[in-house]
């Protein structure tokens, strides 16, 4: 019974390694997705947090996993169509405990995304819930999708 579980976990080790390799591929192609690195980033976290960007019609949604972080730990700014998320995550070890495993690192990060469409800077909201940061950016009126009515001419 135990050997089956062990094998099972090794299967996921292999998948995790594959994922790490894929992540490296993603990093190499960051430019192609319109994701730019801030020049200060080399000193801190290489590429954290990871962004998923959705086009939801009237809004752009930028989402990032920021486990353990609250609104106090995060700064979000928008300037010239470039969205920047920065902050700091401290690795807190509970007092009086020995450490067996440490995979959740302390981070100081600052990442920027060049947004692909014009944004109404007054209508940007950001909230963090259950460790997920969601930034909603309203597109400028001229960038919103428009329905064009097709008229039949007689």
């Amino acid at each position: 019974m135990f050997s089956r579980l062990t094998d099972f976990d090794r299967t996921f080790d292999v998948l995790d390694e594959l994922r790490r390799q894929m992540d490296r591929v993603w990093n190499d192609y960051e430019g192609a997705w319109g994701i730019t690195r801030s020049p200060t980033q080399a000193l801190t976290s290489a590429n954290w947090p990871r962004f998923n960007v959705l086009d939801a019609g009237a809004n752009l949604l930028v989402m990032a996993d920021v486990p353990g972080m609250t609104e106090k730990d995060l700064q979000v700014s928008l300037e010239d169509g470039v969205l920047t998320v920065s902050g700091e995550q401290k690795a807190v070890a509970p007092e009086g405990y020995a450490v067996h495993r440490r995979e959740r690192p302390a981070l100081r990060f600052g990442r920027s995304v060049a947004l692909p469409v014009k944004i109404d800077a007054e209508k940007v909201t950001a909230n963090v819930k259950d460790g997920v940061l969601t930034i909603s950016l309203a597109k400028a009126p001229e960038a919103r999708p428009r329905q064009i009515t097709v008229r039949a001419s007689s």
Binding site: M1, F2, L5, D9, F12, L15, D16, R19, W26, W33, G34, I35, N47, P49, R50, F51, N52, V53, L54, D55, A56, G57, L60, L61, M63, A64, D65, V66, P67, G68, M69, T70, A91, A93, P94, G96, Y97, A98, V99, H100, R101, R102, E103, R104, V113, P116, V128, D130, G131, V132, T134
Partner: protein, 127 residues
């Protein structure tokens, strides 16, 4: 011959459905004289889907990722998937007293040691 091939392809998707790809959450593991403490990053987990099991000396953490907003993806750097990870735990965990909590996308599991396994001073009697 052709029959077996057809059979194996039929089985493959069924197995994939039973065990979909999952992310191994990052964890910290701490210990003091009273307990083991496991802290796992499970951002975006659906609260009611979090499943913490202790069975046969193994701690198993599972959680489903809550559905996010809909839209057309422009960039996908992070793979969003369910979470699953298992650990072999040392003997002497009091499984009745395990407690877990979920805050800001972080799952914290307290595994108290059974009193028999805590360090104990043995009196030496003279006869």
């Amino acid at each position: 011959m052709s029959n077996t091939i057809a059979k194996s392809t039929e089985q493959a998707p069924a197995r994939a459905e039973a065990q979909p790809l999952a992310i191994r959450p990052r964890v910290d593991v701490f210990e003091n004289e009273h307990e083991l403490l496991v802290v796992a990053d499970v951002p975006g987990a659906a609260k009611d889907s979090i499943d913490v099991r202790f069975e046969g000396g193994e701690l198993r953490l599972e959680a489903r990722r809550a559905a996010g907003p809909q839209g057309q993806p422009l960039a996908e750097e992070a793979r969003l998937a369910d979470y699953r990870r298992a650990f072999a735990m040392p003997e002497g965990i009091d499984s009745e007293k395990i407690e877990a909590s979920f805050t800001n996308g972080v799952l914290t599991v307290h595994l108290p040691k059974s009193s028999a396994k805590r360090p104990r001073k043995i009196d030496v009697r003279t006869t």
